[in-house]
């Protein structure tokens, strides 16, 4: 693990260049270019708002501005999380040429995949911030929770990307499993709803380590409240441990990559 980090530090430029490549390539030869980075989160947030609106219509409860801002705050990081994993899981297969023909620390591929999605997320974050200002969400010291929550989310996404990238290199099935899983994950994660809706069953949703992070962000930015400390610590510890496991596993499997692609 320490060795893996040291090797990455030695190859910062490589990580940067591969990330830059992913970003450049993603929007090359598209008429709208980087505008897609703004549009995609807008679509997801818009979908969340519509779902929320529909909930309100059906249940007859009045639609609160708070609900909409909360959905917006959770949808953007969720979109990042999903895209990072989807992209990361394929990163080694897509770079087969480099994996089999040139030696470089292969850890850069899943990390660059996550990194390039992170750039998109930053663009989305600006959009969401504008939305929050317009909606009059206000600002409080609880915003200081964000770095920890976001950092933890990034670690979690990286860990999964690393593990799934290695796994899908050996078994292409992983690719399909990831697709299916990501499609349904939105139902088991409180993005368009709140875990509190489920009352005593809420912990069941919060076991999903992404849930406390997303709800924590909404609570820090929208509700101006401290997120539940126990659940947040659970998610943070989970992310850190998983990154350790992922990097160690990846390093151990790395010598086998070239002959097993």
């Amino acid at each position: 693990m320490i060795e893996a980090i040291r090797e990455l530090l030695d190859h910062q430029l490589l990580l940067y260049m591969i990330t830059l490549r992913e970003i450049r390539v993603k929007y090359k030869q598209s008429a709208m270019g980087m505008l897609w980075a703004v549009l995609m989160p807008l679509v997801i947030v818009g979908a969340g708002v519509i779902v929320r609106y529909a909930f309100a219509m059906v249940s007859g409860k009045p639609l609160m501005m708070l609900d909409l801002t909360s959905v917006a705050v959770k949808a953007a990081p969720w979109a990042f999380f999903v895209a990072a994993i989807r992209f990361g899981a394929n990163s080694l297969i897509v770079n087969e040429d480099l994996v089999t023909k040139i030696y470089l620390p292969r850890l850069v591929f899943p990390l660059a995949a996550v990194g390039s999605q992170l750039i998109d997320f930053l663009v989305a974050a600006v959009v969401v911030s504008v939305f929050l200002v317009v909606a009059g969400a206000g600002l409080s010291a609880h915003v200081l929770w964000l770095p920890l929550l976001l950092g933890s989310l990034i670690l979690l996404a990286s860990a999964l990307a690393i593990l799934l990238a290695a796994a899908s290199l050996f078994y292409r099935d992983v690719k399909f499993i990831v697709e299916v899983f990501l499609t349904f994950a939105i139902f088991f994660t409180p993005v368009f709803y709140d875990s509190a809706t489920f009352g005593p069953w809420a912990p069941l949703l919060l076991v999903n380590p992404v849930s406390p992070l997303l709800e924590g962000m909404s609570s820090a930015v929208v509700l101006h409240r401290s997120p539940p400390l126990a659940w947040i610590s659970y998610s943070v510890v989970f992310s850190v441990v998983l990154v350790g496991v992922a990097m160690t596993t990846f390093r151990r499997l790395e010598p086998l990559f070239a002959e097993n692609v």
């Binding site: 260049m17 830059l20 040139i102 078994y171 292409r172």
Partner: protein, 423 residues
């Protein structure tokens, strides 16, 4: 490790699995189940495994150019992949002092959608250069590739030659302690190849250690003093390149037995200098080619053809018994034929192969043929380079005031007799 030993390979084995492996869970689960039940045992390791390298050991000193010679599938590329750490040996140790760089698959790091400029930065980083290094060498790289006008064009619009040239240019500007080279000098057109070879020579001269893998033995001899001969994954010999090449070719010389279906067969082709057989001959000397043939049934009206081709199988010369005004040859059942051709070896340094044919005297229909039946290596005369030795002599080398009387040029050039035609 000795102080000046840059590369130390000790007892390296590399095993590959033969055949398709479980690439999806669908295959894995049933086979695991079968194994658990014990109905069908997994194929034994010796059947499924394939040893690409067996007990390979060698050392390369600092500043040395070291060649690896072997037939296809001998394990040359596997060695390079182990040296670059793309793969890890199954057993044994590899120690490298310093930074390894490879002129292998030089375009692998390119992304088709990026421009030449973007790809230089990307590939530089992939090959381990630092940002200041890339910036500093950027102009040199572009100039070397000769792609100044296209550097802001996406490389997917490049021709394959341009693509390869850019790849080589980046890779050739990476600083390394050990440089691995695998057949890249065949990139681009003639001029670019010359540039590559010059660059390689400059790198060798600058004291970088080089491991060179190539089928181009002429280049290998000119670059590497010491070489390793690899045969089916084992080291046959390590020694001076010329000796290793001689051994390599002498292993290739085998005699053929009468096959069941063949009634007429060339059984042996040897090259020698009149005294004993060998594989290396001095340019300008004599070369004897002896062809042995045997018939199972009676054959009439035969002629023996020999053809000399270069290492790319391009025909340089042929002759036959018929053209040398010998009559048709008749072979009775179980009779043996031996023909010896004496040739003036007016070839320059290089590797050449002998193709032998048995033709019908009148119809020129081939009865048997043996391509690359023998191989020989010409040791160059110091005065000439190229393919042929035209035995040059300097008859005049005059320095003085220029006079206007131009040298008369013949209006019609005499054409050389066509080469490579059947009798």
């Amino acid at each position: 490790m000795a102080e000046d030993c840059v590369l130390d390979v000790q007892g390296v084995f590399k095993r590959f699995k033969r055949g398709e492996r479980h690439h999806s869970l669908r295959d894995l689960v049933p086979s695991l189940a079968r194994r658990l039940v014990g109905r069908e045992r997994a194929p034994s390791p010796d059947q499924r495994d394939f040893w690409a390298l067996q007990d390979v050991s060698f050392r390369v000193q600092r500043g040395e150019a070291f060649g690896i010679i072997g037939a296809n599938g001998a394990g040359k590329s596997t060695i390079l992949k182990l040296l670059t750490r793309i793969m890890r040996p199954t057993r044994g140790t590899i120690r490298v002092a310093g930074r390894v760089s490879a002129l292998i698959e030089v375009s692998a790091g390119f992304h088709r959608d990026l421009t030449g400029r973007e790809n230089i930065y990307l590939n530089g980083a992939i090959l381990g250069m630092t940002m200041p290094e890339i910036r500093q060498r950027f102009d040199a790289i572009v100039a070397f590739s000769g792609l100044e006008d296209f550097i802001d064009t996406p490389v997917k619009r490049y021709s394959s030659g341009m693509f390869a040239r850019l790849g080589f240019s980046v890779a050739a500007h990476v600083d390394a302690d050990v440089l691995l080279v695998d057949e890249v000098l065949s990139v681009g057109d003639y001029l670019f190849q010359r540039k590559c070879i010059e660059r390689m020579n400059a790198i060798v001269a600058s004291g970088v250690t080089i491991v060179f893998v190539s089928h181009n033995l002429r280049e290998l001899t000119s670059l590497c003093r010491r070489s390793l001969l690899l045969e089916r994954g084992t080291v046959q010999m390590i020694g001076p390149t010329a000796e290793v090449i001689r051994t390599y070719f002498s292993h290739g010389q085998q005699s053929r037995e009468l096959e069941a279906g063949k009634e007429l067969l060339i059984t042996r082709v040897t090259v020698h200098d009149g005294k004993g057989s060998g594989v290396q001959f001095p340019s300008g000397g004599k070369l004897y080619v002896t062809v042995d043939a045997r018939a199972r049934t009676r054959h009439e009206d035969l002629s023996v053809v020999i053809q000399i081709v270069d290492e790319h199988q391009y025909p340089l010369f042929d002759t036959c018994t018929q053209r040398l005004s010998s009559g048709p040859i008749t072979l009775d059942a179980d009779q043996e034929l031996t023909c010896t051709f004496e040739l003036d070896l007016s070839l320059a340094e290089g590797t050449f192969h002998v193709n032998a044919f048995l033709h019908r005297y009148l119809t020129n229909r081939p009865q048997d043929r043996w391509l690359s039946a023998a191989t020989f290596f010409v040791k160059g005369a110091p005065t000439v380079r190229g393919i042929v030795n035209l035995h040059p002599r300097l008859t005049q080398c005059h320095v003085g005031p220029s006079d206007n009387s131009a040298v008369p040029v013949p209006s019609v050039w005499e054409t050389a007799p066509p080469v490579g035609r059947r009798p």
